[in-house]
Amino acid sequence: MALFATILIPLLGGIILAFFPAHRGREIKVFAILLSVATLILSIVLFAAYDYSAGGFQFRESFKWLDHPMNITFSLGMDGISAPMVLLTGIVMFAATLIAWNIQHRPKDFLVLLMMLVAGVFGTFVSLDLFFLFFFYELAVLPMFLLIGVWGSSSDFGTFFRSKEYGAMKLTLYLVAGSVLVWVAIMAMFWASYQAGTPTFSLEELRSVEFNDSYKHFQNLFFPLVMVGFGVLAGLWPFHTWSPDGHVAAPTSVSMLHAGVLMKLGAYGIIRVGLELMPEGAETWLPVLVGLGAVNVFYGAVSAMSQTDLKYVVGYSSVSHMGYVLIGIATLDRLGMGGAVLQMFSHGIMTALFFALVGAIYDRAHVRDVGVLEGLAKRMPMTAAFFAVAGLASLGLPGLSGFVAEFLVFVGAFKTYLPVAVIGVIGAAITAVYILRLLAKVFFGPIRPEWEHLTDASRVELGAAALLAFVLLFVGVWPLPLMDVINAGVIEIPGILGSG
């Protein structure tokens, strides 16, 4: 029941939360934090209890949901790829709920939706049945619309305007459009299994289904749907623009979950549904993915360099970093793939930290314009310190988790796609340029007189930031526990290279 509980705690908790009287803001927030603590502990325990030497899916549970001829089962399981994701979700959710302490406007509704979202994310990561994977995927996407549309903020950039409704609408339409593609591919796979006489939605059974001769053709046809459909969520270029705009509109804790966890759903989907079910189609299409990933890395980094809004900078840096994940996946190499999964984890923690701090600054200064913020370190030293940690992780400083992940991706890519690896390394250098420029501009130098009144981030915010920074450091210094689990998962991806 442990895996089911990861879904049930936020889901039922959210429903219970809905019955709280709306004016008891404090109790509501405390209850939500308790829920997230429970989930965090559960996810840590699950991760720790995962036996990587045995590998495969563990903590399985399965209920029949719809019988023949559909054969849909509600089955859950966690392997080496989903285990770090579950842990990531637990950590980011906890931090985001802490940050949500600042929400004043209808906190109850906000937290209920947040819990639904998290339940959906957990469900997607642990589902072993395509039907439910898709179901939870949609459950994770849809609350975003309300969370951004109601609690978001509109921004006027002088030359253009981004309303929160625009951000919310774009994000939802994009993700739903992506999921349509995915759904088509899922139906096609089900139909193929139906024709083969073994109708199923189960991820594992679909792997072993005997398909007819045109299967290769089938895979070449449907893999790109999965790749692009989930790729939209992972910020695949040129379907990335929903992400920065979504961040700019979203409230802090939603940005954290959005960049920290939701974008990972996309990359996870590509691995789980794309690579594992259609390895031959993947072989045909991965060169395209690696190319797009390289574009992501470079284009995102260069775009981030000239952004003036803190959230845009972080948003585009997310696009850039997700590019490493895509490259790593596309290498189909054990090192590269392991690096990709680690990068998903590391980037999730890192961006969550970024957004928490940007939110802390925005709450106090009410601007996010890099041109106006100057010398904040004097008044917000801890914020500056944590921002520097996130920034250094982002530019791939050894000792923080980003380095290990990016390094593995480079090693993996170097074997098969040398120019891409070189672009990746250069992209990391560009990241250094814009992150350091940002740090120097916003935090260092003499403070502007109008910021003299600012106060440092609150204890709750610093607590969340400290947790995230600690994880970054821990994984950077001692990646062994995480890598052992990831290796166990990566090794079972069909067609993976470099297994010896």
């Binding site: 994009y174 360099m305 000239s306 000792g399 290990v404 340029v433 120097a440 890598m483």
Partner: protein, 628 residues
């Protein structure tokens, strides 16, 4: 028990000190700075243990050198195991000794220099991390670990150069240092990946074996060597990536001393020395190293001659000497380069601490035109500074003389067509040292400087202690007993005892003394000897004073090209990808909806007519279908 295995303790002490001071410093008396000093002091003690252990140990040989070490798993990715591990060989032992000693002295000195700073704890913590990273760099037994600590060294330099981050110039200098060295690091990382791709291992010994055994293609090997050298160019401030080092003077002066003497810039030279088997197998790359080193030496020396900021003069002098070390490495002068690294390290540490002492008493003044005759009020500083300056200038019998001679000898042996330039660089380095020395400490004491006083003993003590090796460390090269000198301790493949080439030695001694005399005539007496020369070479002078316009070129490139490209890409993203590619279809749908909605007239008879026409069409269709 093998005492060399204890070497890992040396960086570990300082790493632990970093965490202790950062997290617990607030609760400790004196903000825990003594932990930091204790750690590096402990490291210095362990160094002696390791040295004794190393001399007595029976280590396996690699490239003619006894090499101990161990390695343990860090993590495994796929089927590749990544490890931590250390190498204890003469190279790392020498570096350990120098880094711990200089680091210890500078930390003690900092107690006085940084007294009363509100972020004292943070300063010492990062200082510890800096030294720890450098020590780990020296000990690293695989390229991955080396890259990790290499970047940490860069980070610490960033943090320390930008220590007074409220100053715009400091934060800019820190940024510049990090980004410039990072450009080199891109090369280093690609080089490491390239070697890994060829050999399947990150371990240095494995890579070197493959390189010498010819398992790697010559072209690839040369490329890898050049890429690694790119990393060294960034860290060791070689032309054209040297621009960050003079700006790095924005940090507190002890930090400059640390960067210049023991840690940061030495890392590049060390890296080339460490990866020497690769360079040796790729002679073309070595030629590049030599030429770059020479260009750096000459350019930096010329800039040192015109700079008016005391710290910048020293900074350019460092760049120039690093160029000489690279030149030496490029000329197969492995021993000479490390020897010069050590001699230069001690001398430069003394010089920077002296400069810091001057600044400390003169309210952070660094303009040498406002100084003069300071030896009357700061005797100890003046004496130690003089020793350091003369040593670097190559005055006979001081450390710098012996090491520079070795370098020149290596050049003569292997790259003799560069010897003339090397001699010019040596001459210039004596000239600018004379300028700094005589203008600041000799001549007439200015009236407004009468209040200047000698620094406290916590500052002068380390200076004196460092001046001693700066003066005498050269003698380790000499064959004292039958055991031979430095050249039989640290060498590459083939031991060679100290050689002294009399013609060259006398030539370089005359050159140094001549330059010092010229400097005395030109600067010491306040004579106008150089004024007509300056006037005659006005154009050249201007070019040099503007740092050969390199900074301007880089700034222009960043402002006009890179940022412009970034703006264009960002605009492309918003206008083409977003507003056209994404909002375009959305607007298209809305627009066509706006058009199509006009068919909805709201008038019933239009709908009725439509229904009838539709009905007729259905009927016709049905009829056609059934009457076939």
């Amino acid at each position: 028990m093998d005492l060399t295995q204890l070497a890992w303790l040396i960086p570990a002490f300082s790493f632990i000190a970093f965490f202790l001071v950062v997290f617990l410093g607030k609760f400790l008396p004196g903000r825990g700075v003594w932990i930091s000093i204790l750690a590096i002091g402990g490291g210095f003690v362990v160094f002696w243990v390791v040295l004794v252990g190393f001399l007595g140990a029976d280590c396996p040989m690699a490239f003619g050198q006894a090499t101990c070490g161990f390695s343990m798993e860090w993590f495994t990715a796929g089927d590749v195991e990544l490890s931590w591990g250390i190498i204890v060989d003469p190279l790392s032992v020498v570096m350990l000794g120098m880094v711990t000693l200089v680091g210890l002295m500078i930390q003690v000195y900092s107690l006085g220099y940084m007294k009363g700073d509100p972020r004292l704890g943070w300063y010492f913590a990062v200082h510890s991390l800096f030294i720890a990273s450098m020590l780990a760099l020296v000990l690293a037994d695989n390229f991955l670990l080396l890259y990790v600590v290499w970047e940490l060294v860069g980070l610490c330099s960033y943090l320390l150069i930008g220590f007074w981050y409220e100053r715009r110039s400091a934060s800019e200098a820190a940024k510049k240092a990090f980004i410039t060295t990072r450009i080199g690091d891109v090369g280093l990382l690609i080089g490491i990946l390239l070697l890994f791709d060829q050999t399947g291992t990150f371990s240095m010994s494995g890579t070197f074996e493959a390189a010498t055994a010819g398992q790697i293609g010559q072209g690839t090997l040369t490329l890898a060597a050049l890429l690694i050298f790119l990393g060294a160019m960034g860290k060791s401030a070689q032309f054209p990536l040297h621009v960050w080092l003079p700006d790095a003077m924005e940090g507190p002066t002890p930090v400059s001393a640390l960067i210049h003497a023991a840690t940061m810039v030495a890392a590049g030279v060390f890296l080339v020395a460490r990866a020497f088997p690769i360079f040796e197998a790729a002679p073309d790359a070595l030629t590049v190293v030599a030429v770059i080193g020479l260009i750096t030496a000459l350019i930096a020396a010329s800039q040192a001659l015109v700079a008016t900021d005391l710290k910048r003069i020293l900074a350019y002098s460092t760049v120039s000497h690093l160029g000489l070390m690279m030149l030496s490495l490029g000329a197969f002068g492995y021993t000479a380069a490390i020897f010069h690294l050590v001699a230069h390290g001690f001398s430069k540490a003394v010089l920077f601490l002296g400069a810091g002492s001057v600044m400390h008493s003169m309210d952070e003044e660094t303009d040498i035109r406002k100084m003069g005759g300071l030896r009357k009020v700061m005797p100890v500083t003046a004496l130690t500074f003089t020793i350091g300056a003369l040593s670097l200038a190559g005055a006979p019998l001081l450390a710098g003389f012996w090491s520079k001679d070795e370098v020149l000898l290596a050049v003569l042996d292997h790259k003799n067509y560069l010897l003339a330039f090397a001699l010019i660089a040596a001459f210039l380095s004596a000239l600018y040292m004379a300028r700094a020395l005589f203008v600041v400490f000799y001549g007439k004491l200015k009236d407004e400087n009468q209040h200047v006083h000698e620094s406290p003993w916590v500052m002068t003590g380390p200076m004196v202690l460092l001046a001693v090796p700066a003066a005498v460390v050269g003698f380790i090269a000499l064959r004292v007993t039958d055991t031979g000198g430095f050249g039989t301790f640290l060498y590459f493949n083939k031991a060679h005892a100290f050689e002294f080439s009399y013609p060259l030695g006398i030539a370089s001694a005359l050159l140094a003394l001549g330059a010092l005399w010229l400097g005395w005539m030109a600067y010491g007496k306040g004579s106008t000897l150089l004024d007509p020369l300056k006037a005659r070479l006005g154009g050249l002078n201007r070019i040099i004073e503007n740092k050969y316009y390199l900074d301007d070129l880089y700034q222009w490139t960043i402002d006009r090209i890179i940022l412009l490209v970034a703006k264009v890409v960002a605009l492309f993203d918003r206008i083409v990808v977003n507003d056209t590619g994404v909002d375009g279809p959305a607007k298209g749908v809305r627009w066509s909806g706006g058009i199509i909605r006009y068919h909805v007239t709201g008038r019933m008879y239009n709908y009725a007519l439509g229904m009838v026409i539709g009905g007729i069409f259905v009927a016709l269709f049905w009829w056609l279908l059934t009457t076939r």
